[in-house]
Symmetry: C2
Subunit: 291 residues, 2 copies
């Protein structure tokens, strides 16, 4: 079994990005500047945004963190979006999801300038991804593809089962994996809550992408010998033995599944760090595109 070590891979990609930033600096060019907007005080969101800002610092990007209380109105948030769109110093920015319930998420996402949408959530970027045109790829799917690429995991002709049909992970990763590309050229099945006999389906898969958000859902009996398993899950599970009071659980029962796999991602340290690195790569490409 080979561990798809997202933390180590992300670290080496960050070094590559840092040296690109260094080169930009030396050439007297603008360094990338990523902004992040966080509305409310959700603990997990605060952690994610914190990691993103910290990663920016590590690679030499400029970063701006904009925090607002959960009581922020939709029009106040739209005004922030407008300012970020018009600020020539900001190359890309992200809006940490979920937003408070009283704000129409779609409305705000649609207001983001697609050229600065380094999360790849705007319909223009989603459509361009589907049509295989240049775009910002959504961060988590792109991170998964990059991890498979770096480990040279064979994908052509393989049967992939993606569990979960979310707009930010399941659906886009299924599109990227069926493409005529490497990694890619997979026969992709997208499964979800209405799928019959998910157990047999998974047991027939060469590659499983678990992205449903249910801790330890994928058990040993659902995985065939030699399968590749990518665990996108990242749920906080109460754990009194931890100082924080919780532990991070993936969608895969690692102890049962790992021994059957040819490759598997750990949680944490698998897909998570790769997601952040994708965001940095999108921001770097934004600078290259704009300047």
């Amino acid at each position: 079994m080979i561990l798809l070590d997202g933390a180590a891979t992300a670290k080496s990609i960050k070094l590559e990005i840092a040296s690109e930033v260094e080169a930009l600096k030396k050439a007297g060019k603008k360094i990338p500047h990523l902004a992040a907007v966080l509305v409310g005080e959700d603990g997990a969101s605060m952690t994610y945004v914190g990691s993103k800002v910290k990663s920016c610092e590590e690679v030499g990007f400029a970063s701006t963190l904009i925090t607002r209380p959960a009581s922020t109105t939709e029009s106040e948030l739209l005004e922030i979006v407008r300012q970020l769109n018009n600020d020539p110093d900001i190359d890309g920015y992200i809006l940490q999801l979920p937003l408070p319930k009283h704000i129409d998420e779609h409305k705000v996402l649609l207001a983001i300038d697609p050229e600065k949408d380094v999360d790849g959530f705007h319909p223009v970027n989603v459509g361009r991804m589907m049509l295989n045109l240049p775009c910002y790829l959504p961060a988590t799917p792109a991170g998964i593809i990059e991890l498979l690429r770096r480990y040279q995991v064979p994908t052509e002709g393989k049967h992939v089962v993606v569990i979960g049909r979310s707009h930010i992970v399941g659906l886009p990763v299924s599109i990227l994996l069926q493409r005529n590309a490497n990694p890619g050229n997979c026969t992709v099945t997208i499964a979800h809550s209405r799928t019959n006999d998910l157990k047999s389906l998974c047991a027939s898969a060469d590659i499983i992408i678990a992205a449903l958000g249910k801790p330890e859902f994928v058990t040993g009996d659902m995985v065939k010998d030699g399968a590749v398993v990518v665990d996108v899950g990242i749920t906080r599970v109460p754990d009194p033995s931890k100082k924080s009071g919780f532990r991070i659980a993936g969608d895969v029962n690692f102890a049962q599944v790992a021994e059957k796999c040819s490759y598997i991602t750990p949680v944490p340290g698998g897909v998570g760090p790769m997601t952040i690195v994708s965001l940095l790569m999108n921001t770097l490409s934004a600078v290259k595109k704009h300047r």
Copy 2:
């Protein structure tokens, strides 16, 4: 076996559209106006465009057919697109594909105003479709969904195998069928030229969507008893016994497959007429949206 009679279904939908147009007229409102642009003299394209224009007349739409020789330059075509974008009388328009090789298809499609892109090919519409936002759905996938809806073919939890990953049929129909909707909620596998053991995969499917463009590719041994088969193929095959010198063949060997099916579309008279009706429905919705 029940025939999914696209021709008859299209006919009754056309009557519904015609009565809506009649109501618009009576209310003194603008009637829908669809334009079609045809570059070159490809026989099949001329037939398709002709059917579309004729269908406009049947339902009471205004229509404009713009034909240009194969020698038309990209900038000449872009100028036509610009004029159509700016013409307030045109509600929607289509560019018949394929375009001559010397014209960059993507460049021209990107120039179409997404609000008038009733073929649903522009990245904005593709992205909005994927995110389940209001949009023009691509005509063939939307026609397939409408046919399944009208015949109340059960889809929830069914395993669909889509053969072919084109941007205009295979990929979008796979997205529409996995959605949390009815028709929808299918477990969808997208298969293509790199898929291993396509025969077994198809034989396990509850629903097969054949959209690869290879005449009579799906044979009896690839279909399980009781399956639903939708044939998107429409290839001209030389046939000296016909006056035209050719016959239209689907991607399914109908004689072998039909007897095993619960539902099947014929070719011609299946998906084809539904595609045209989708275009009319998109144009009607364009009028409603703009006025």
